[in-house]
């Protein structure tokens, strides 16, 4: 723990972290980008999940939906990670011990694993069920896991704001 604590303290004292923390507009702008990019990232991820459940965009082939969403999901995810990291860097000593931040990070890893499992199993065989009226059970399970995880990740994100002590 000693190494981590000294790293966090070093990070907090960097010019960049100090600038983010003390500037009037830095934190609101970064946080607003983080929240409003939910439209691009979370929105597209949930639309994809709903397609996997057979609840929307059913007139489009699954492989088309996956291919069409993918690049934008990548862009959205990159923006979320970048702005999220900036928020952390602005006040690392405060954020690091926060329980909800830790739960959020663990669930992010699970969400990533879910995508990995999907891509290597049922998603790899998408050509076999591309136009099927009913998506296979594995696809539905992946979609529900994803929806639950992302909702919980949003909930943790909100909870972080409520449990971090106000700046002194």
């Amino acid at each position: 723990m000693g190494h981590i604590a000294s790293f966090l303290q070093w990070l907090e004292q960097t010019q960049f972290s100090t600038f983010l923390r003390e500037s009037t507009l830095g934190e609101p702008i970064v946080e607003s980008i983080h929240v409003l990019t939910l439209t691009l990232f979370l929105g597209f991820a949930m639309l994809l999940d709903l397609r996997l459940l057979g609840l929307c965009l059913t007139r489009r082939r699954m492989s088309e939906v996956l291919a069409q969403f993918n690049p934008y999901l990548m862009v959205g995810f990159t923006i979320m990670i970048l702005t999220g990291t900036l928020l952390f860097v602005s006040d690392p000593v405060t954020f690091y011990p926060n329980t909800f931040l830790r739960i959020k990070m663990v669930m992010l890893i699970f969400a990533g694993l879910n995508v990995l499992v999907f891509n290597t199993t049922i998603g790899r065989k998408v050509d076999e069920w591309d136009q099927a009226p009913q998506t296979p059970r594995g696809a539905k399970v992946a979609a529900i896991v994803s929806l639950v995880l992302w909702a919980a990740i949003v909930a943790c994100g909100r909870a972080i704001a409520y449990t971090v002590p106000p700046p002194s």
Binding site: V35, L40, F44, R59, R60, V154, R158, Y162
Partner: protein, 160 residues
């Protein structure tokens, strides 16, 4: 007009909903989470339709097909956002009356909804091969500016 709005805010604050949300520790954040999930779906649908109108995504079929497919989600998420938004507003309605960002948000919201369910709906439900690029871009930019206005003003409520 102003006095009517002020009375409305007072009524909302003292309503069952206003009291309930204000008196609970966890209701406000829980409703905020619903508001954010609604934001994801609504924003996602609008971005998707805009990208399709510009010919960037889902060009394998007409705009109208995509618009019909996402319409239930759009209407559903607008309802979720309006209801959850009203609950959040009611818990601090009189404070919101004086909040300049909240006022901007409401004006932008009214315009965005009006635009989305009239001109925007007509354009996305029509045969897009007959639309000029200038008209498509105008509609896309207008919808983006109006909805982004709602989002940015919403973010600003906590800071002003």
């Amino acid at each position: 007009m102003a006095i009517l709005l002020y009375h409305f805010c007072h009524w909302a604050l003292n309503s069952y909903v206003g009291h309930g949300v204000r008196d609970s520790v966890w209701l406000f954040p829980a409703i905020e989470i619903c508001h954010l999930l609604g934001l994801g779906i609504l924003g996602g649908c609008i971005l998707l339709l805009n990208f399709r109108l510009l010919g960037w995504r889902f060009t394998g079929g007409p705009v109208s097909e995509l618009a019909q497919d996402v319409q239930p989600l759009m209407i559903g998420s607008v309802i979720v956002m309006l209801v959850s938004g009203f609950f959040l507003f009611a818990s601090e309605a009189v404070k919101m009356y004086g909040n300049i960002a909240f006022r901007y948000k409401m004006v932008s919201l009214a315009l965005a909804i009006l635009f989305t369910f009239t001109i925007y709906r007509k354009v996305t439900m029509s045969d897009d091969t007959e639309l000029s690029w200038l008209w498509k871009w105008t509609v896309v930019v207008l919808s983006f500016v109006l909805w982004a206005g709602v989002g940015v003003a919403g973010r600003a409520i906590g800071y002003v």
